[in-house]
């Protein structure tokens, strides 16, 4: 076969793989909201919430319980990713990347901080307002991620790419609005809204930082370092801080080891861990902007999975928003990439 045709086919294959990873990311990310919601009613988190609510008030109960849940979420993901690296034979690369802190791991550490912000925000929003709201609250993150990637390191975004991202964002706003109106009862839930904002900003910045970090490192190893960073911050800084403030963090942490809770956390670790694997793998192939745009279909999948597993039919605004998200993703997917080698510059 002609070399030019083979080259074009190779680029198309690379692009197709990138989209496939991003699509799997959306699917797994959406699924994560099921254990992410269930964990709030699992022991000891349910009791923990009620006890802190009684002694310190509802807001403190959401903030502290979400912190412990997020910490265990990070630990579950670290376990899943270590198994993944072991299976792929990448423990050597993990070690090589880890020791290059000054040049390499610092970026994954930064990604871990913003990722922590996003996960924590999601759990707060999920607990305070609802799983549906938490799922769609972060839908604006590709806008932040792709803009940062464009201005920071000149990642290429075509006109068609912008149109697709815009459609996804409008779809997200539609889903957001519908869920928000449906789930909110009473006054303005500031803490839940702040959680949603943390999710959008956290994941947007994390994606752009990850795009930079992946210039230097291999995705599976880099991602594991990102989660080790997040887990480390929870275990060494934030949880001790909550304990020093007088909250019974460790008293409840040791009660986590019940079969049902471990099963829920393992499910969360698997879905979230592998959603991240696929998210990071898509970035070097299709870019941060597109990877995040396709990954954004998680909002639609989350609403579907929450509906299937936890009940609650989607509203008309959710369905319209979902259709817009899918249309936007296909607008980006349909872009001809056969002549694109590099995602950077003009």
């Amino acid at each position: 076969m002609d070399v030019k045709i083979l080259k074009s086919l190779e680029n198309k294959k690379k692009y197709r793989y990138g989209f496939m990873w991003a699509f799997f990311c959306a699917l797994l990310w959406g699924l994560w909201y099921v254990p992410g919601y269930l964990v709030w009613v699992a022991e000891p988190f349910g009791d923990m919430f009620m006890n802190i609510d009684t002694t310190s008030g509802g807001s403190a109960a959401y903030v502290v319980t979400a912190a412990l849940i997020s910490a265990f979420n990070a630990i579950a993901v670290i376990v899943a990713l270590l198994i993944w690296n072991l299976y792929l034979g990448k423990m050597g690369e993990l070690k090589r990347t880890l020791v290059q802190f000054k040049t390499c791991s610092k970026w994954f550490f930064a990604a871990g901080i913003f990722g922590l912000l996003a996960v924590y925000g999601t759990y707060i929003a999920g607990g305070y307002i609802g799983a549906g709201f938490a799922a769609v609250a972060g839908l604006l993150y590709p806008l932040i991620g792709s803009m940062l990637a464009y201005f920071w390191y000149g990642e290429r975004i075509t006109k068609r790419g912008y149109i697709g991202i815009l459609l996804i964002v409008i779809g997200g706003v539609s889903i957001y609005g519908g869920q928000f109106m449906g789930e909110v009862t009473g006054g303005i839930p500031w803490l839940g809204l702040a959680g949603g904002l943390m999710a959008a900003i956290g994941w947007g910045v994390e994606g752009a930082v990850a795009g930079k970090a992946l210039d230097m490192a291999e995705p599976d190893a880099g991602l594991t370092i990102r989660f080790i960073s997040e887990g480390g911050i929870w275990l060494l800084v934030l949880l001790p801080l909550f304990a020093l403030m007088g909250y019974p963090i460790y008293e409840y942490a040791i009660q986590v080891f019940t079969p049902i809770t471990i099963m829920i956390l393992a499910f969360a670790g698997l879905t979230f861990g592998y959603c991240y694997v696929t998210w990071y793998k898509s970035f070097p192939l299709i870019g941060v902007g597109k990877g995040q745009a396709i990954g954004n279909l998680y909002g639609l999948f989350a609403v579907i999975f929450i509906w299937l597993f936890l009940g609650g039919a989607p509203t008309s605004t959710t369905l319209i928003g979902g259709l817009l998200c899918i249309t936007g993703s296909f607008v980006i997917f349909g872009e001809d990439s056969s002549d694109i080698d590099s995602l950077r510059g003009d």
Partner: protein, 98 residues
């Protein structure tokens, strides 16, 4: 060099400014990292594609691997470091001598 992440090792190989085919770049790294299986070869080759996407290296020439020197019937690529790749290496304090 085996203590460096694979992408660092690839860039170091290309820092001489020369043009290198992937079948010359990948095997020494496979050996240095004990990744001598076909899976190891494809993993390192994929890192080359990621560096290409990032704009750190450029793809100068392609040939079909008819003789199976690297991977039969697949494309062989000749790469060279870009200015951006060189700037990146400087920022990472990488040099050929490391």
């Amino acid at each position: 060099m085996a203590t460096l992440p694979i992408k660092f090792q690839i860039i170091k190989t290309l820092l001489d400014g020369g043009e290198h085919w992937n079948y010359n770049i990948v095997p020494p790294i496979q050996k240095a990292c004990s990744m001598e299986s076909n899976y190891g070869r494809d993993t390192i080759n994929f890192d080359l594609l990621e560096l290409l996407s990032a704009g750190m290296i450029e793809d100068l020439e392609q040939q079909v691997d008819e003789d199976g020197v690297f991977k039969k019937d697949f494309l062989l690529h000749k790469y060279r470091i870009t200015d951006f790749g060189r700037e990146w290496a400087e920022a990472m304090k990488l040099s050929e001598e490391d």
